[in-house]
């Protein structure tokens, strides 16, 4: 459906780094009116950053801007805020709803663009005293909904709508804007049922026919193939493929998404996890963690192994350790060393001799306002009564500052945590060093099994290597079993023995870490590889 003349949108040589960490390099593509562009890639491939650049989000300016140029209708643009982008007819529907629950669909669609009637009062006190013209508001909302081709009652309160209708309301809001030309949809079908998703896809086609260009970001590859004209595959901040969608297959795209050339792979160590006894067994685990719902996970972890858990964002991999620990409501059974561990009670999880390093360092992992020695010793002190001096037959349990400082110093040295002293506050450290403090806290309880969630998220490359090395060393020295959850497949493949992939809240397969990368790609999108590398339970 490409049209002659200057393309609607052209991105030329876009690059971006966050403090020396290159996240986008040499991104080039064009988009014509009425074209649907599928943007796919693993998490961290750079899709979100690219869209943030397009919209001129604050975070981009605050971190030193970007390189390259963006052209709209052949004219160079550089937006300073998303409002400027909106004024030029570019709209975006985010993954999280940006709706007001007590307003009707019409009120949400026309939020801050309500049709108004002026009155004598507003002549004097300014146009904010205009009354709102409800009739024409309903009318405009109806038009937008009609353009979208879905069924939606403009008078219905958003709070009472099913999820799909909320999504339609969001999209209707964007297309109700007068000269909308380009619409970015970020994972719009992730929350929808299959039927709702179908309606949305046909709505997208309808919009494209009317000349609106769409950038469709999705992990559901079949939908991408079905609805898009062109598919753009991103990996490691670069565009790997820019091809017409017609004739593409899921395995092809999946391979492009994850497929690094194997070569640099450090190789699997000589260790056969399946020969070891099962140390932890999860059966039918479900976890209500917002955005990372786990539906039904059954998984065995073997003594002494490093088990990787991978998968795309929002598929539920993060929910597994969080649910097992009891930080989010969960159900199912967990057996550790033969004992059933009750869910929803973090204390019992810790008492059993397991530990968890959360992906949310600042929110869950650290006492930001307290010193490092507190951070490192706290869990061990509270759960195992270590680092305490006892008086009066244990009636008084006094904090033993000497021991606390000793353990802090030990781990500061062992993990090379860069800090002025153990008295420094946790919030003053860099991300990588904060992560090491979290690891130290977990190591200090000397766990039999350690869950580590996204250990390298948001830290620079040098620190990444150190953190991974620390994990591997800890595993080989103390024999601690490690379950590592990460969005970065390469990182999992670097240190794990086996890798389980989660898709749609379930384990879609377990592979040895040196299996074909394309097979991992297929598992991530919920398809079984048809090759011979299948391993573990499906």
């Amino acid at each position: 459906m490409k049209q002659p003349g200057a393309p609607l949108l052209e991105m030329r040589n876009i690059s971006k780094d966050f403090f020396g960490n290159q996240v986008l390099a040499d991104v080039n593509f064009t988009l014509s009116s009425g074209e649907i562009l599928g943007l796919v890639g693993e998490n961290g491939a750079g899709k979100t950053t690219l869209m943030k650049i397009l919209f001129g989000m604050d975070i981009i300016h605050q971190t030193g801007g970007y390189g390259g140029e963006i052209f709209l209708h052949g004219k160079a643009v550089r937006y300073q805020s998303s409002f400027e982008a909106l004024a030029d007819g570019i709209g975006m529907v985010h993954q999280e709803f940006s709706l007001l629950p007590d307003f009707s669909a019409a009120e949400n669609i026309l939020l801050n663009r309500e049709p108004k009637k002026s009155s004598p009062v507003s002549e004097v006190f300014g146009d904010r005293m205009d009354t709102i013209d409800r009739k024409s508001m309903q009318q405009k909302a109806r038009t937008a909904i009609k353009k979208l081709g879905v069924e939606l009652d403009p008078a219905m309160l958003v709070g009472q709508m099913p999820v799909g209708h909320k999504q339609f309301t969001e999209i209707a809001r964007e297309i109700s804007k007068d000269h909308i030309k380009l619409l970015v949809l970020d994972e719009p079908t992730a929350v929808l049922t299959e039927r709702e998703a179908d309606i949305l896809l046909s709505a997208m086609r309808k919009l494209a026919e009317e000349g609106i260009a769409i950038i469709f970001i999705s992990h559901r590859l079949q939908e991408v193939i079905d609805v898009c004209d062109t598919v753009l595959v991103m990996r490691d901040g670069r565009i790997i493929k820019d091809v017409p969608a017609a004739g593409l297959t899921i395995p092809q795209i999946a391979r492009w998404m994850v497929g690094r050339e194997v070569g640099e792979h450090p190789g699997r160590r000589a260790f056969n996890p399946e020969a070891q006894p099962v140390i932890l067994s999860m059966k039918n685990l479900w976890v209500d963690m917002p955005g990372e719902t786990v539906r039904d996970v059954t998984l065995d972890v073997h003594q002494g192994e490093i088990l990787g858990v991978g998968g795309l964002a929002g598929q539920g991999k993060l929910g597994i350790p969080n649910g097992a620990m009891g930080l989010f409501p969960a159900g199912g059974t967990i057996t550790f060393k033969g004992n059933a561990i009750p869910l929803n009670q973090p204390r019992r999880f810790l008492d059993a001799g397991m530990a968890f390093v959360s992906e949310d360092r600042r929110g869950v992992g650290l006492l930001l306002d307290e010193s490092l020695d507190w951070n490192i010793s706290f869990t061990a002190m509270q759960v195992q009564e270590r680092f305490l001096k006892k008086y009066l037959k244990g009636a008084i349990k006094w904090r033993d500052e000497k021991q606390i400082q000793a353990i802090a110093k030990k781990y500061i040295d062992a993990l090379e945590i860069r800090c002025t002293s153990f008295r420094q506050k946790a919030k003053e450290l860099s991300g990588g060093n904060q992560q090491k403090v979290c690891l130290a806290k977990a190591f200090a309880v000397e766990p039999g099994l350690l869950f580590v969630s996204e250990p390298t998220r948001g830290i620079d490359i040098g620190a990444k290597g150190l953190v991974l090395q620390a994990l591997r060393d800890y595993n080989s020295k103390s024999g601690t079993t490690i379950v590592m959850v990460s969005s970065e497949l390469e990182e999992l493949r670097a240190i794990c023995d086996r890798i389980a992939i989660v898709a749609d809240g379930r384990i879609s397969g377990i592979l040895p870490s040196d299996a074909e990368s394309a097979d991992f790609g297929l598992l991530m999108v919920g398809k079984q590889p048809d090759g011979s590398t299948e391993g573990g339970q499906g």
Partner: protein, 347 residues
Amino acid sequence: MIRVRQLIKSFGWPRIIIALFLLSLFIIAPMVGVKVSSSLSDTIARFGMNGIMVLAMVPMVHSGCGLNFGLPLGIIAGLLGGTLSIQFGFLGGSSFIMAVLLTTPFAVLFGFGYGKLLNKVKGGEMMIATYVGFSSVAFMCMMWLLLPYTSPTMVWGYTGSGLRTTISTEGFYLHVLNDFLKVQIGENFSFPTGMMLFFALMAFIVWAFLHTKTGTAMTAVGSNPVFARASGINIDRTRTLSVIMSTWLGAIGILVYQQSFGFIQLYMGPFYMALPAVSAILIGGASVNKATITNVVVGTFLFQGILTMTPSVMNSLIHTDMSEVIRIVVSNGMILYALTRKSEATR
């Protein structure tokens, strides 16, 4: 220069201004004929009277329950203990000890219920604490009328029932702490050793508690509740414990206050007692979620110093008693400052 600036920053401008103001009052005092020795003596006495009620802020701040605007609830427990001790006919020093003992079960009970309530309203503690304090004071107004007290020193003479609005502690525990090992220097200066020792004891107990395992857990709950939960701490139980401690300290605080002041003030007496204590600890450098014993000592001294000095100095200086206005502006201004600070608005 940079170090000086950092020092100022860590101390906070409001505190420096208040400290300088107090200092200037002490300097001006002799010039306008106010005796510094007696002023200092007054300040110290008032410090001892109010110190423990300020201390009652600390446990709740540590556990993240915010400033204890519900202090009147603790005060009511203290009032019950004090009046019961008199009712049972204890005299002198033993009446104070009995008052403390009788107060304790009430304080624990009230604190427990209050703590449970605050656990249900996490995030909105301060406003609700204020109104819990107010409602309990109003409720007790009815109770003071109805409870079957009979001691003739306490009930209204003409009806023989219902407690009086103020009851003298003379003959009971008046000055039992103040006069213990009291040091008199010259005519105008006396140091209430017993009361100061008692304050020191309470401060030590709180300090020591914060160094135990449970105390450490309490600080962690206030600092980051999710972290604490992920370390196996029962957040609600820890918070309830902190509220019980705060309530008990408030109760003991009012007993110490009464023994020095000489009167038990019932009915609407405890109504506005939370605000001075809250602003004192804030003046001492505490924030909505961080407080130390040092904050208590510094804050109580500065706040009570201003309260003592302004009326006498101002009166002699401009022949107008503006102390009430200054008290209102300073104490509430301090609370506003604490409530609006960015770093604390994150919670």
